[in-house]
């Protein structure tokens, strides 16, 4: 793919920008058992500026398995466009050979078999090695963190994000934006920001009462690098109080606020910015739309929707880079900036194959220190999985199938609901499930499992509402998660219909009967955004279920009938 796209020429309005990007032609090397660290890091330093982008790490300090989605449907103008291309079509599009490391890293097929061959991915000690190698080429490379960093693991939960803060500080992060960080509560967020050696960015983080820019966050920051002035504007997740519990951070209002983004771009240009970078937690489709509306952004480093793309996408004159999730990838973007203009770029999405990239000893030691107080808790084996457990996919994943079944059994419910989040590593068939593994897919600050009655009509309303957050043809109305996962109930969804008419044929699986709109059903679910939710924590519930079963097996889930894909 590197050869095909090398010196990919991109015509821009005012000047010819030359861009190239690559994921490397590793397949031959791997076949020869020779995939080496230097192949993954190989990069001819280009231009005068380097950006390093990591995003959506979700607390993953150690190497993990992470299966990319099989089902990631686009509607409207996103139909058939990346990131809504998966599997064999994705490999064909980027010229990735079947069975190659890129196949394993970027697509879902044959995941369990390829995982045996290529091993775990990620680990911030390996990420550190990559960052240090880039800095060896370009000492003033700028490391930018797209957020969803202080969330997602046992140690992160118990240290209230401190483990991640300590490691990211040691990596010398230079700016950051936010999403799940706010679920630590605004007091804790303020407490951490007071200690950060880098700016906390978000042009769209406003004071909820006055609807004015919030004091704790800067809209942008400047770097003087390579003889150029670089502005980095932050864009936090726009729908924080809607998708996550707003009562945990009542002082803040968010939103896309693209008018204010345009003002900020104009302001930094007025202050002499030669290059304008947006560090974004919008999600990929929202970033594409924003790039078509706001003019003057050179680079969007895109996060939130967890897409890993081996080439940037260009919208007008804006280059959008998507860097994956869970510590699995690092993006390097080299830029040639002269006379206030971006003249060209070179990009590489670097997969963190943990068996190929050596851990950085200093960061490895730091990670071990952060984990040491919790070691026996983390490593306790709760059970085994006979199946591949993964989460990503628009409608269901086997991890959520397991969680939904656990809720039905442990809370004696007819129907269960699990949030359509996109974080959480995978477990291979035959692998032990440790307490750490359970926390990796469940930990959050609002994890209690409620049990309540809902009418059939209300269940329908919920499905319609969440489906519109995913399949509204206007990306600005999408929230970037997947469909709520349902246990005990099947349904039919036509993704191309409008809200109110997408969902039909709701069926109670245990009886095969249609859901009656006026009848009440017992529903269990977790991750409620409401204050005062009562019930056991989801990780304790799932642990009890797995412990009771010893070995878990997930049967294929055919309960969602998707139309229009």
């Amino acid at each position: 793919m590197l050869s095909r796209r090398d010196f990919l020429q991109v015509g821009m309005a005012t000047t010819a920008v030359y861009g190239s990007s690559g994921f490397g032609n590793f397949s031959k090397l791997a076949a020869q058992q020779k995939l080496k660290q230097e192949d993954l890091l190989e990069f001819d330093t280009y231009g005068n500026i380097s950006l390093i982008h990591v995003t959506d790490i979700h607390g993953q300090l150690k190497p993990i398995y992470f299966r990319e989605p099989e089902i990631n449907l686009g509607v409207g103008s996103a139909l058939g466009q990346v990131p809504h291309i998966t599997g064999a079509n994705f490999r064909k599009m980027y010229g990735i050979n079947d069975g190659s490391p890129s196949h394993y890293a970027l697509t879902h097929n044959d995941f369990s078999a390829l995982a045996q061959q290529y091993g775990r991915v990620g680990g911030l000690d390996r990420v550190a090695t990559v960052i240090k190698a880039i800095r060896a080429d370009r000492p003033d490379a700028i490391l930018l963190d797209g957020g969803d960093t202080w969330h997602g693991s046992y140690t992160c939960h118990h240290s209230q994000g401190q483990d991640m803060v300590n490691v990211m500080n040691a990596l010398k992060t230079e700016a950051m934006t936010f999403h799940w960080e706010f679920t630590l509560g605004s007091d804790r967020v303020h407490e951490i920001i007071d200690t950060l050696p880098f700016p906390a960015l978000g042009q769209n983080i406003f004071d909820a009462e006055w609807d004015e820019p919030a004091d704790y966050f800067e809209p942008y920051t400047f770097f003087e690098r390579g003889g150029s002035k670089i502005a980095v504007i932050g864009q936090a997740f726009p729908y924080m109080p809607i998708a996550n519990p707003g009562w945990m951070f009542p002082e803040y209002s968010f939103g896309i606020r693209d008018e204010n983004m345009q003002e900020m771009v104009n302001e930094v240009r007025g202050l002499g910015a030669d290059l304008v970078v947006v560090l974004s937690h919008n999600g990929f489709d929202v970033d594409k739309k924003m790039a078509s509306i706001v003019s003057g952004i050179d680079i969007i480093l895109s996060g939130h929707t967890h897409d890993a793309l081996p080439e940037p996408v260009l919208i007008n004159e804006t280059v959008i880079v998507a860097s994956g999730s869970n510590g699995k990838f690092v993006s390097r973007v080299d830029l040639d900036v002269r006379n206030g203009k971006m003249m060209g770029f070179k990009h590489k999405l670097i997969p963190i194959f943990s068996d190929v990239i050596a851990p950085d000893p200093d960061i490895a030691t730091l990670i071990d220190e952060e984990r040491a107080p919790y070691k026996s808790q983390l490593s306790e084996v709760i059970g085994q999985s006979q199946s591949l457990l993964y989460r990503r996919g628009n409608f269901n994943g086997t991890w959520d199938d397991l969680i939904c079944q656990a809720m039905i059994e442990e809370r004696e419910a007819d129907i269960s609901m699990s949030p359509g989040v996109r974080w959480g590593p995978s477990i291979l068939p035959g692998q032990d499930i440790t307490r750490e593994d359970i926390w990796n897919v469940t930990s959050m600050s609002y994890g209690k499992v409620y049990r309540t009655e809902m009418t059939g009509e209300f269940l329908h309303v919920i499905l319609e509402d969440v489906a519109d957050n995913l399949f509204n043809p206007d990306p600005y109305y999408q929230q970037g998660g997947d469909m709520v996962r349902i246990g005990g109930m099947g349904y039919r969804i036509d993704i191309n219909k409008s809200q109110g008419s997408r969902i039909s044929d709701l069926t109670l699986l245990k009886t095969g009967e249609r859901i009656d709109p006026s009848k009440n059903y017992i529903v269990a679910g977790w991750a409620s955004v409401n204050e005062g939710t009562e019930g056991p924590q989801i990780w304790d519930l799932v642990e009890n279920y797995i412990r009771r079963n010893g070995s878990v097996k997930i049967n294929p889930n055919n309960s969602v009938n998707v139309i229009g894909a």
Binding site: A243, H460, Y477, S501, T533
Partner: protein, 140 residues
């Protein structure tokens, strides 16, 4: 209403489900009908007025909106899906430094917010935007 929906969605075991459920179909007045009601049947231009509103409301009970129509003598704001669509009319005298206003409005559910400006020469300009009022999804 949407607050009730949110409350209902995620109740912990104790709360009772007494909320009035939103209908799956909306009974909103067509946007064009609302515009014509203000202009008296005269077509309104789509330029000369800007309406700023969130795409998805963080709280449907208090949705911040701004309108700006340079040269307007009056701007009327309507919520097409509310039981009573008329929200406010702002009148601007000759001494107004700008013809803009910011306020917060209550929305009964997902609907179009419509603004119509009457210009000094008797012409009209209009803008509208859908504001979603949602139960809340599951952010990635």
């Amino acid at each position: 209403m949407e607050l009730t929906r949110r409350d209902t969605m995620a109740i912990g075991g104790a709360a009772a489900l007494t909320a009035i459920l939103p209908s799956l179909s909306s009974a909103a007045i067509p946007v064009n009908e609302l515009i014509m009601g203000v202009t008296g049947g005269v077509d309104a231009a789509s330029k000369g007025i800007s309406l700023t509103a969130p795409e998805i409301a963080e709280n449907g009970n208090t949705v911040p909106i701004s309108i700006d129509a340079p040269g307007a003598v009056a701007i009327t704001v309507m919520a097409a899906g509310n039981p009573r669509p008329a929200v406010a009319t702002f009148n601007f005298g000759g001494g107004s430094a700008s013809q803009s206003a910011t306020t917060r409005i209550r929305l009964a559910g997902t609907q179009d917010v419509v603004a119509v400006a009457e210009m000094a020469d008797g012409s009209f300009a209009t803008a509208h935007q859908t504001v979603k009022v949602t139960i809340g999804g599951c952010g990635g």
